[in-house]
């Protein structure tokens, strides 16, 4: 490994190195604040090293990694998301957790896994990254050991994620058996003309199994069954992490290796992906309608959002990849903000999950409610928020590829989606009830929002508007970065 390889890999090394430092620090003395500072420092250092290492791009390091501007952009996004998770989690953990330090350790490891996914070039790296991410998540989801719901969610995720990993592995094996290659780059070719192989059946089957594994991580229908339970059971910062970093890393991999720049995705893969997209959009939004738990609502909504992302992936062409990237960024910012507000509202014993805990929020805490409203509108795709421009770009990409069925499903399902976002908004702006029921020792309604969370929420709200009003800043980069894909 040459010196330049080393430089190129710096970001991928700093994050796990920070994890190791944390481990030692925790062994010496438990100190939440110090741990939080060290891990944030690690993320910042990794972020800085991206700029430093950018000079040696693009570069392939061994058969494992491809480090180019695409993977660096996604790494930057993932690192920022992880940093936001830390800022939001700090006070939450302070309030609820006796031993909060390992949380940071696990999040750093999971983030490393997601970064490996983004930079992976062959099956081995893909699988390693996925497992690194998953294993850390098992522990994170069950982090609050005092609560049975958290443990249940952890075990559910463990069983399902492990089986989906094996399915993925089998898919890789089939493709390897046919082509004799571990390269991920053969996916794109197989997407367009799988018939070129000696045994197209093997390739298509393998491709489907790989998609199953990836689809599980993304929680697209029909691999979505774990989502609501895990979202509900996991501690809020972890939920935010699953929704942003875990899904983001997986989708970045999918986008890189399945995106088709010229030509249509047709045949079996195209059909299957279209069905996944349509089913996700409709199922996610329809199932969310009757939920009364905000975490579950956002879980189902995330299923629908992954469906929208698949539309951009299917659209392909020059617009598809930047549109998907833009949408994903907007979604990550928004969902972090939404879970961030929920985290800030959560008390010592109970998380702010039920719709009732938001009743009249706007009249008690106007700023938090305004931030939450912004996030919900962004999820619904109302103009001047990030979600709207994201949707606009996806529609643009879909329309230029003439994928009308997908587009009509998208607008119908996002109208359905609007209904349940409005339900939350309505509750927040409803008249607060009488003063009788506020005598709750766990009352968080007057709890001040601590500084880190305030900073994070302000930044996220600002980003939602920035992404919604001034896309030039981001769009050009995204186009440039995705130009060489497919």
């Amino acid at each position: 490994m040459s010196r330049t390889d080393f430089v190129a890999l710096l970001p991928l090394m700093i994050v796990p190195a920070t994890a190791v430092i944390l481990m030692i620090a925790i062994a010496i003395r438990r100190n939440h604040k110090a741990v939080a500072v060290i891990s944030l420092g690690g993320l910042v250092a990794a972020f800085g090293s991206l700029a430093f290492a950018a000079s040696v791009l693009p570069r392939q390091v061994s058969a494992f990694f491809i480090l180019d501007s695409y993977s660096f952009l996604y790494m930057a996004i993932l690192l920022c998301a992880a940093a936001f998770v830390f800022l939001l989690a700090y006070d939450y953990l302070n309030r609820r957790q006796k031993h909060p330090e390992e949380f940071y350790l696990l999040v750093l490891l999971a983030t490393t896994g997601a970064m490996v996914l983004v930079a992976s070039r062959n099956f081995a790296a893909f699988f390693l990254g996925l497992e690194l991410l998953s294993v850390a998540l098992y522990a994170l989801i069950a982090y609050v050991r005092a609560e049975s719901i958290s443990i249940e969610a952890g075990i559910k995720y463990l069983v399902l994620a492990a089986s989906s990993s094996s399915v993925l592995l089998f898919g890789m094996a089939l493709i390897y058996a046919e082509s004799g290659s571990m390269e991920l780059s053969q996916f794109t070719a197989a997407m367009i003309h799988s018939t070129g192989h000696a045994n197209p059946f093997l390739v298509v089957t393998g491709l489907m199994l790989v998609l199953t594994g990836a689809g599980f991580k993304l929680a697209v229908v029909p691999f979505h069954l774990w989502t609501p339970d895990v979202y509900e059971g996991a501690p809020l910062p972890v939920t935010a992490f699953i929704a942003s970093v875990s899904k983001g890393g997986m989708f970045a991999l999918l986008l890189r290796w399945f995106h088709v720049n010229s030509g249509d995705i047709t045949g079996v893969p195209g059909l299957v992906l279209s069905i996944l997209a349509i089913a996700s959009m409709l199922t996610g939004n329809l199932l969310a309608l009757r939920q009364t738990n905000v975490k579950r609502i956002l879980a189902y909504s995330s299923i629908a959002h992954m469906g929208y992302l698949l539309v951009a992936l299917l659209a392909g062409g020059a617009l598809g990849a930047p549109a998907a990237t833009y949408y994903l960024t907007a979604y990550m910012v928004t969902i972090l903000g939404a879970f961030g507000v929920m985290t800030a509202l959560s008390g010592r014993q109970h998380e702010a999950m039920s719709l009732d805990s938001y009743r009249g929020l706007f009249w008690r805490r106007p700023l938090l409610a305004a931030a939450f409203t912004t996030m919900l509108f962004s999820l619904a795709g109302i103009p001047f928020t990030a979600g709207f421009l994201g949707k606009f770009y996806v529609l643009m990409a879909g329309a230029s590829a003439s994928r009308w069925v997908l587009l009509f499903t998208l607008i119908v399902s996002s109208t359905i989606g609007l209904f349940y976002y409005l339900r939350i908004v309505v509750v927040m702006y409803a008249q607060p009830e009488g003063a009788g029921e506020t005598e709750n020792p766990d009352d968080t309604r007057t709890l001040p929002v601590p500084l880190p969370a305030t900073l994070a929420l302000a930044a996220l709200t600002g980003l939602v508007f920035l992404l919604g009003v001034y896309p030039i800043l981001f769009w050009d980069t995204m186009v440039a970065v995705t130009r060489n894909l497919g």
Partner: protein
């Protein structure tokens, strides 16, 4: 720049009055009123400056401003004003002021947020009337929704949440269909010219195959017909109008419905001339169906606000009929109808609000003989009921008459059926007048008559209606050039053939 100012004044005014309301609700009201007055004066200023040039000057726009926004897709902040926009903007600010004044006492809670929403709806409406970039148009189209949703959902009556949600979902779905049409239009333009643009004037020149044009037009129609609302898509309207607070009803009926009609004139006719001609008979029939349906249902209502809401469906049917009749007289009639309907229906909603404030009911059956106790208010009620049923001398008559006159040239049977709507209008108009205001006073109401502020509001609206009814020429002169431009592209052949 002045056009951008119109929007910015409302936006900052809204924020200012929200903040000011923490100290004093009165200050918030005055800030709202002041920002609307400034805009009204600016609008009148533009009108006076360009009054004489409608015939002589060939330039299409009085004022415009044009900034780059998202260059990759050629999206620009392009605002421009012509006669049609100007007339509707003046109506917007006039009705806005009336809405503020009429809710001066009705709204006592969360005054700041109320006025914030009020001004932001009006900012959105201003943007809709000014945007000459279809993407920007869509943004403002959606921007109107959110504050309106809050106005209905927070300050509305009993079933406000149901009504607000229904309103939002209907308009959102139809709006998204329009967004797809907008995007498809831009992409088709890109494919034929290689330039990405959403600019209205550029897109006018897009060459479309008849099939594509028809499909795209349906996308635009979806949004505009729901907003108008045309007959089968109107079901959100009675709920939203009935449940909204007075100011909300005034803005909904007076302005939001007009944005649908404006969209038809500004976008559908010029962008899709061919299919407009083809589909004109169907659309005119829908208009006539709306006229009759709205009028008949209005006759049967027991809730005063619901009754007025259904008359709106009927009146907007005339607008639809006029827009697609394919000649200038009908189109001018449609615009006059838009403006006078805004004033007369707005006044009726204000009246219903005044009655509700005093009597705590909207049921017509609970009223009766109000003339005895509130002569001035009942008299005003009579005037607006007469305006709504199309009494000559008041605004609505001019509009409906011109529409029927023009439609007669296009399609005689439809016009005959449409005039039956006037008959039904007489029924509901007289029913309100008789059951609510005249006759004996069976419930022995003793109520305070109009206050000076209420006098001023209703008086000004009466003057407006009389002006349109007796001397509509200035309005016609103002809007004629823009209508001619819309018309030319759509119905030239027809005119030449005659």
């Amino acid at each position: 720049m002045i056009l951008l100012d119109l929007i910015l004044i409302l936006v900052t005014g809204g924020i200012a009055s929200w903040i000011a309301a923490r100290r004093s609700a009165m200050v918030a009201r005055w800030i709202t009123l002041a920002s609307l007055l400034v805009n009204l004066i600016l609008g009148i200023g533009i009108w006076i400056a360009h009054l004489g040039r409608s015939q002589s000057n060939p330039a299409r726009w009085f004022v415009q401003c044009n900034f780059n926004w998202i260059p990759q897709f050629g999206i620009r902040i392009h605002l421009a004003i012509d006669g049609l926009s100007l007339a509707l903007l003046l109506l917007t600010y006039f009705l806005g002021i009336m809405a503020v004044l009429s809710s001066w006492r009705e709204i006592r809670e969360r005054v700041g947020f109320f006025h914030f929403n009020l001004l932001w709806v009006l900012a959105g409406i201003t943007g809709v009337f000014l945007a000459m970039d279809v993407f920007l148009f869509y943004l403002f189209w959606e921007l109107m929704l959110v504050p309106m949703y809050f106005l209905i959902g927070i300050w509305g009556h009993e079933r406000r949440i149901y009504a607000a949600t229904k309103f939002f979902l209907f308009t959102q779905l139809s709006g998204l269909l329009m967004l797809i049409a907008i995007i498809a239009l831009a992409i088709l333009h890109h494919q034929s010219t290689g330039i990405f643009t959403f600019d209205y004037e550029q897109l006018l020149k897009t060459a479309l195959s008849p099939r594509a044009a028809r499909l795209l037009m349906i996308g635009f129609l979806a949004a505009f017909l729901v907003k108008l609302p045309a007959f089968p898509f109107h079901t959100w309207l009675p709920d939203a109008h009935t449940e909204a607070p007075t100011a909300g009803s005034v803005i909904l009926a007076g302005l939001l419905l007009k944005t649908g009609a404006y969209g038809l004139i500004r976008f559908v006719l010029p962008l899709f001339p061919g299919p407009s001609r083809e589909l004109a008979p169907i659309l005119m029939s829908i208009g006539v169906a709306g006229i009759l349906y709205g009028a008949v249902l209005a006759v049967g209502q027991t809730d005063l606000k619901r009754l007025v809401a259904y008359t709106s469906v009927s009146h907007m049917g005339f607008v639809l009929l006029g827009v697609f009749a394919g000649n200038e007289i009908a189109l001018e009639g449609a615009v006059v109808q838009m403006i006078s309907h805004g004033i007369s229906t707005g006044a009726l909603f204000i009246l219903a609000g005044l009655l509700q404030e005093r009597m705590h009911t909207r049921e017509i059956a609970a009223m009766g003989g109000l003339w005895e106790t509130m002569p001035a208010l009942s008299g005003a009620g009579m005037v607006f009921a007469m305006a709504s049923l199309g009494l000559p001398g008041l605004g609505d008559f001019v509009g409906e008459f011109l529409v029927l006159l023009g439609a007669y040239r296009a399609n005689v049977p439809l016009t005959v059926v449409a005039s039956l709507g006037l008959l039904a209008a007489t029924l509901y108009g007289l029913r309100v007048a008789q059951n609510a205001f005249q006759g004996s006073n069976p419930h022995h109401w003793k109520l305070p008559d109009m206050l000076p502020r209420e006098w001023m509001v209703l008086g000004l609206m009466m003057v407006g209606l009389l002006w349109i009814g007796l001397y509509p020429q200035p309005i016609l002169n103002t809007v004629r050039p823009s209508l001619a431009a819309a018309q030319q592209s759509a119905f030239t052949q027809e005119i030449v053939r005659r």
